[in-house]
Symmetry: none
Subunit: 121 residues, 4 copies
């Protein structure tokens, strides 16, 4: 379910956070469903338990997950909504990159085409 690239420059715990977020958005992880345990993930991903824990703390901080000591870690009730709101803010990043592409001489049509491709998937 999860895949880690230990050689990536993006921290392992952040890779985990991103994957959980994407699974929440796609509906693969539903509210109140339980995440694999820290130890389980640690073994199957060959990642130190501390690093898994760090990812969970981050997800908790973002309100996407709640962990119950002794029981496990669960997807928050309105995780998807919380996430959707946060993601809207990324429009700024898209605008910034589009601005750079324009400066670099990339034609507008090429950008629009790619957007269309994304939304037709």
């Amino acid at each position: 379910m999860f895949q880690i690239d230990p050689l990536s420059r993006v921290p392992v715990y952040e890779q985990l956070v991103e994957q959980v977020e994407s699974y929440i958005l796609t509906g693969l992880l539903e509210p109140n469903s339980q995440l694999p345990s820290v130890r389980n993930l640690s073994v199957t991903l060959s990642v130190n338990p501390n690093t898994i824990q760090k990812a969970i703390i981050e997800l908790d901080r973002r309100g996407l997950v709640y962990s119950v000591p002794g029981k496990g870690c669960f997807i928050a009730e309105n995780a998807k909504e919380t996430l959707s709101k946060a993601k809207h803010g990324r429009m700024d990043e898209l605008i910034e990159i589009a601005t750079e592409l324009k400066l670099a001489g990339v034609p507008k049509d090429e950008v629009i085409d790619n957007i269309n491709i994304v939304y037709s998937k």
Copy 2:
């Protein structure tokens, strides 16, 4: 000409590189024009000389500037072209963010609108 935010998460030397690149693309820095000296930048930006040097090394590595020992650092002849080619690669980033926005429920029209705005500036 250059502005540094020492509190930013993005490294100081990277901020410098990005600004030089953007000035090359906008034509503000023309081929063979001279960059301010390391010492000069170090003082005016309140940045450690090592950090300035690191930015220049990076720009050199990317083929955007060339250093003449004892004289200074100059914009490369075909810096703009080099940069334009490299920037095309950022299309991948744009596609990635667009994919996230789609997942988050941002309507396609909203994305297209923003692209249009960027290209109409």
Copy 3:
């Protein structure tokens, strides 16, 4: 009679202990009255029997209940007095919090007012 929040940060067994204590102080649980059985509580509260047992052991340790093997668990004769003495120790906590409030700039009158409200209920 008892209510458990399984998501709370405070352990389930502690929630149980606190509620029994409060019922003893309010007189709702009188000396020698019988507590519901472990099995009963386990079912009605959807709590693991081990957890119920742990709460009872803790109450016993504090001298608030006594268990009669084969019969059940009963409120101790002088439970209320025992509890009252113990609770006096919480004055320290109140002082600590009041100290923090003072540091945070909460005016003395506001604190006193709240104390008055509590005691006028």
Copy 4:
């Protein structure tokens, strides 16, 4: 400046967080003043660097501190105000404890006296 009780039941990193908070409120730690480095604290307090780091992350999360990689960790501009607002919420705790004290038979005067003592320090 900081003191840790390794035997306390409250986590070491939380003890640190609390002490930094109190020093911010008392004005001992002023905005933009630098905290001792992670390694420094680690040695002087005989606490693992990871634990120090955890405290700093928590302080950052609360907006009381900002850390600049490679430079150090500093008190946030409006740390005191942020903290004061948060602390006001603790009035609820004080009311809860006062309620318990009342139930336990502690006379009102005794509570008020203690409040007076705190505010006269």
